[in-house]
Symmetry: C2
Subunit: 331 residues, 2 copies
């Protein structure tokens, strides 16, 4: 892996994250009616990694532009991401998001549906502010990302009631639900600064593969991660009966009693908290934690090979650092 100065990159990320937070906080100010924009701004104010905006900024710079060319687009992708969170939380009937009440719990269902819709409309408005020249390609990439997120969410929902989800389908689902958005962010940044075709492709492939690695990592952290400050439960995916990478891989490999136990999790649409350790043992015995790590490594390496293809080699360091920190994260 390339050498880089992690402290410098971490500081830059932190600085940009704060800028994005500020831009997000002011994005809905002065808009009326308040009955719409107060709930919508509630979700934007809750803290987040702001990874997607960062990808837009870094990609714009890597493709020959400047951060300042794409701040509005960076805000746009984060707003779009928050739109998906609001509607997903309704669909998942989730009470909490980042330690705060979800929008539909704090307000009500109708308010949350409409606030989500409205966020999406504002996302497009923000995107357009940074469009000069390549508008069609930029809006098209943005829209394609949106289309895929919806398709991925639908597949994810469909998996809930299916017992025969294959690993290939799972990878397609997370590609659409998570990775397509990361891909779009990288693509968008590069398109908006009129980047070279080959650079747009390299950045886009970086985002796609990073996104897949990120999601499998997410699945893994559910089992091996630290309990975070919001008290997110270890094994939450198992308790909720989610068909994660680990689960699908385990079900593929399991025999005898293990297979029966895994089937039971599907039949009951989840397990009890006190059963988490038992299922963790099954995962360990079957080696699926290692399988996940290998898969994460595979997609991360693909991401890094892609980024190393860009013409401005001096820009690759932070992309390596980012991939590295995402893999090393523990929550």
């Amino acid at each position: 892996m390339k050498k880089f100065n992690p402290l410098k990159y971490a500081a830059l990320y932190e600085e940009e994250r704060k800028k994005i937070d500020k831009l997000l906080a002011s994005s809905l100010k002065k808009r009326k009616p308040k009955t719409l924009y107060e709930p919508a701004s509630y979700i934007l104010q809750s803290s987040g990694k702001r990874l997607r905006p960062l990808l837009v900024l870094l990609s714009a710079k890597a493709a020959g532009g400047k951060f300042k060319d794409v701040y509005n687009a960076a805000v746009a992708v984060e707003i779009m991401h928050n739109f998906t969170l609001v509607h997903d939380d309704i669909m998942d009937n989730a009470d909490l998001r980042r330690g705060n009440q979800t929008l539909h719990k704090k307000y009500d269902l109708n308010t949350a549906i409409l606030a989500g819709d409205s966020l999406l409309s504002i996302a497009y408005e923000y995107l357009l502010k940074d469009c000069n020249g390549n508008t069609k390609a930029a809006v098209s990439a943005f829209t394609q990302g949106l289309i895929e997120v919806c398709e991925g969410q639908s597949m994810d929902t469909d998996f809930e009631t299916r017992d025969n989800v294959q690993l290939k389908e799972y990878i397609l689902m997370i590609t659409k639900k998570t990775a397509a958005m990361a891909k779009m962010c990288c693509e968008l940044g590069a398109i908006l600064v009129d980047g070279k075709k080959s650079d747009i492709k390299s950045l886009s492939d970086y985002g796609l593969n990073l996104g897949i690695a990120f999601q499998i990592q997410d699945d893994l952290l559910d089992i091996i991660g630290e309990i975070d400050k919001f008290g997110k439960t270890v094994g939450g995916d198992l308790i909720a009966g989610k068909k994660t990478f680990l689960f699908i891989k385990a079900f593929e490999k399991a025999e005898g009693q293990d297979k029966i136990d895994l089937q039971k999790m599907m039949d009951n649409k989840g397990i009890r908290p006190e059963e988490v350790q038992h299922y963790k043992n099954i995962f360990e015995k079957l080696g699926v934690l290692e399988d996940a790590k290998n898969e994460i490594r595979k997609y991360t390496n693909r991401a890094l090979s892609s980024i190393d293809m860009i013409s401005r080699k001096s820009e690759t360091g932070i992309f390596h650092w980012l991939a590295d920190s995402l893999i090393k994260r523990n929550r």
Copy 2:
């Protein structure tokens, strides 16, 4: 009012309506996953006036282009309109739409939320197909229409729990919820064929004023309209406790027992079906049916004055016909 051949125009409308129906029916074909696109196509298949696409087509022609330049954009506005219907039906807890089960009743809440989101994403995809050159202005108009629809829906919801809605606020609400979309359709058609600025403005003003007239007409038809083949109840708005033009105007004018009765409708969030005639009598006594007709005439005349300003005078006939038929419609 201008002379025109209504039969010719009606035939043209019918022909284009069928084309739009066909394009809509094929718009989601071959897309996967089916769990997403089957529900989404369900709403597109139900019949509708397809007024919005017609406005796109007519405006493109009036601004110097051809229908064939904007069929995708015409499909886009209808898909966006259907997105609003799906989410509005959830918010209104409506069981039926155009005589068919609403999407969330036929499927479920989550499917309907996501199908709506997905329709919006596809709407942008369709719009982009017709964007060549004026992409930024076109996407911006489209997005602005979307923003306003969300704002209008929020105001409408807000009115449900307020006793002091003023006529001015009501007009702003329908301007956003209904008229902004009609305005956008006219604007969009003209922008996409690179129409003159002054023509874009005239067409846009036509759409806006027609939209306002259309919505007040809708309120009026609830009281004086024929029962349609789906058995839509006369006085449905009163039964549902809606603050329509008629109601707000009546409340403004009423005194004594009438005022008490109107207040009662608000307190009880509606009336019983057998009370409709009593409230209709109040409306008649206070002259608010006439007020509504005058208001419809005012906005229609504004629409017609606007359309008469376009440079291609030979194109104005069908816009007159359209306004005329909307005012004469009885359901």
